[in-house]
């Protein structure tokens, strides 16, 4: 088995804006072939980190290496192998999709043929709008053009910062499928940040969660969910009675604050059948008892957003 190369290595990266520590001593590694999810709330430091990876922002401290090369010393060689969409996919509105793609291909150091440009536009579903000026495009079309621009020079690493911003459900699904296609069929490494956790959950092989500029967790998506800390949602015909029963019984320690009218408990995944048996024995008619191990739940558990959501819903 060929060992996977580290594509991005970040060590002790920090950046401060006046008194605000936007990124605080973050380290992480993205390996070849990863679809690496970059998660955090608004203002967590995701975009600042991504901009430092793309040399848009100068770090105050720390090292960044891409493809085993120092970004500070080998910027040009590295950026030739990177394609990026950073937040909004802004391009030249007074140019057509075709002209934009051709222009950015030349800026990336390649001279694609007309056929290659048309193929790239076809890949993102813009073949029939190639000659139209970008100012006539919807947000979704601009986003797709942005992705075509990121891919036009066939980079090994693709960095997508909030690629689903402003997209409708179909657009979001298209981006998800494109990321999967790039990873599985074209063997690209993808770093993707998004606030849509369910979308990341469906594509990411590894992920990092940052909060207030600090790294909270990093690892393979499957390894991050601790079975001993499974959040279980409970819905019964009489939730008030169920709450009283649980609060005064052996499951009191597992109880979590209520959200959306549902009862939550944190327990080992293997204990779920026992809980069910206990409730049935207590005569509480159970409508649903569901272990929640979605990324969203996990994200809320580990970030300070948990407190925010709880206080808001309470």
């Amino acid at each position: 088995m060929v060992p996977m190369q580290d594509i991005i290595t970040v060590n002790n990266l920090s950046k401060k804006f006046r008194n605000l520590k936007a990124v605080d001593n973050i380290s992480f590694t993205v390996r070849e072939g990863d679809v690496y999810g970059f998660l955090g709330q608004n203002g967590a430091g995701k975009s600042t980190t991504i901009r430092m990876l793309l040399t848009l922002i100068e770090p105050d401290a720390g090292d960044i290496s891409l493809f085993g090369l120092s970004l500070a010393r080998h910027r040009h060689e590295i950026l030739r192998q990177v394609g990026a969409v950073i937040e909004k996919p802004d391009v030249y509105k007074y140019l057509s999709a075709y002209d934009n793609l051709k222009l950015f291909a030349r800026l990336s150091g390649i001279k694609p043929t007309e056929q290659q440009i048309r193929e790239q536009l076809a890949m993102v579903g813009l073949a029939d709008r190639a000659a139209d000026k970008v100012k006539t495009f919807s947000q979704g079309m601009k986003q797709r053009l942005g992705i075509a621009i990121a891919l036009v020079h066939d980079p090994a690493l693709i960095i997508l910062d909030e690629p689903t911003n402003g997209l409708d459900p179909q657009g979001i699904a298209d981006i998800r499928n494109l990321i999967l296609h790039l990873s599985r069929d074209r063997n690209k490494t993808v770093l993707v940040s998004s606030h849509l956790l369910t979308e990341i959950e469906q594509v990411a092989t590894r992920l990092i969660i940052i909060d207030k500029g600090k790294k909270l967790v990093e690892g393979a998506a499957a390894d991050l969910f601790d079975p001993a800390q499974t959040l279980v949602s409970l819905d019964t015909l009489n939730n008030q009675q169920a709450m009283e029963q649980l609060a005064n019984g052996p499951w009191a320690g597992a109880l979590q604050p209520q959200r959306d009218g549902q009862i939550y408990l944190k327990l080992h995944r293997n204990q779920v059948p026992q809980l069910h048996a206990y409730l049935v024995q207590a005569g509480i008619p159970v409508l649903a008892l569901q272990p929640r191990h979605s990324l969203e739940d996990y994200f809320l558990q580990v970030t300070s957003g948990k407190q925010y959501v709880q206080s808001y819903t309470n």
């Binding site: 848009l56 910027r75 040009h76 391009v91 030249y92 222009l103 621009i149």
Partner: protein, 291 residues
């Protein structure tokens, strides 16, 4: 680098805004030419009012050379605004559109990008002046014909032989190109600090207006700073039309009265260009792109 310059020039000339300047200059020149063609005699009578009793003037005074001079005096005050429209938008416009961040993820250095952008805006400036020269000089020569050039200065008159004028215009336009490139460099520098186009354009014009007023104010306290203001030197193109005279007070063909002044002004403008562009690159290299 050459490819970057090509791309930046291409971007300038694909923007509709670029052609506003060409359209404005064309319409102004056509309007002045029309006015002088229809009613040039009245204009001349007004100009020569005081001299008509002491001088007898014959020939085609209202010729293409004089018309061009009149237009340059009028237009070279306003052309900086048209230059600023593009040069002061070079970085701020990209930041405003959001394309700057994408541009800076491409494999070239910020210095290369800045130099390319400045060279592209200089190409625009030069093309604008070539267009101005074509309309104001060549078209005027075609419409009004050519003859000796009679110029009225504040305290004297200058008479240039017909065969001694054309090269002076070449010199004047080259000098004007240098002056307008200084304006472009100032706009370019100011564009680094903003993320919208209006601010740097207005700021560029404000600086020019402020310095021009300072340059023309006849108050002794300001005399020490005047030689260092680029606006003082921007009008030195007029020196090409001052001629030396011999002991018999006869004009010496092919001479310039104060060539050192032209060279000094050119040097000062050149220094301003270098300083403005260097400062723009220095600031931009350190700038975090947050737009």
């Amino acid at each position: 680098m050459f490819s970057l310059i090509q791309i930046e020039t291409y971007k300038i000339f694909r923007r509709p805004r670029t052609y506003i300047a060409f359209a404005a200059i064309t319409s102004l020149i056509v309007l002045i030419q029309f006015g002088l063609k229809v009613d040039g005699k009245s204009y001349l009578d007004f100009m020569l009012n005081d001299l008509s009793t002491t001088l007898q003037i014959e020939g085609n005074i209202m010729n293409g050379y004089l018309v061009c001079y009149v237009m340059l005096q009028l237009l070279l005050v306003h052309v900086p605004l048209l230059i600023a429209l593009i040069a002061a938008d070079m970085i701020s416009g990209e930041a405003n559109m959001g394309t700057l961040r994408l541009l800076l993820t491409k494999p070239f250095s910020r210095t290369q990008l800045m130099l390319s952008k400045f060279i592209a805006s200089t190409i625009y400036t030069l093309l604008l002046l070539i267009w101005l020269a074509f309309l104001a000089l060549f078209v005027s020569m075609w419409i009004f014909g050519t003859d000796d050039m009679f110029l009225m200065k504040s305290s004297y008159v200058v008479l240039l032989k017909e065969n001694d004028v054309f090269w002076r215009y070449i010199g004047a336009f080259v000098f004007a190109a240098l002056a307008m490139t200084t304006v472009a460099a100032l706009g370019f520098l100011l564009s680094v600090f903003a993320e919208n186009s209006i601010g740097p354009i207005v700021a560029t014009m404000s600086v020019i207006i402020f310095f021009t007023i300072l340059s023309t104010l006849n108050i002794p306290i300001f005399n020490t700073v005047k030689p260092y203001l680029f606006t003082t030197h921007m009008i030195s193109w007029k020196e090409f039309f001052d001629i030396q005279v011999n002991d018999a007070n006869e004009a010496i063909n092919g001479s310039i009265q104060n060539l050192p002044k032209i060279l000094q002004s050119a040097a000062i403008l050149l220094i301003h260009i270098v300083v403005f562009v260097w400062a723009a690159i220095w600031v931009f290299r350190k700038k975090d792109i947050l737009s």
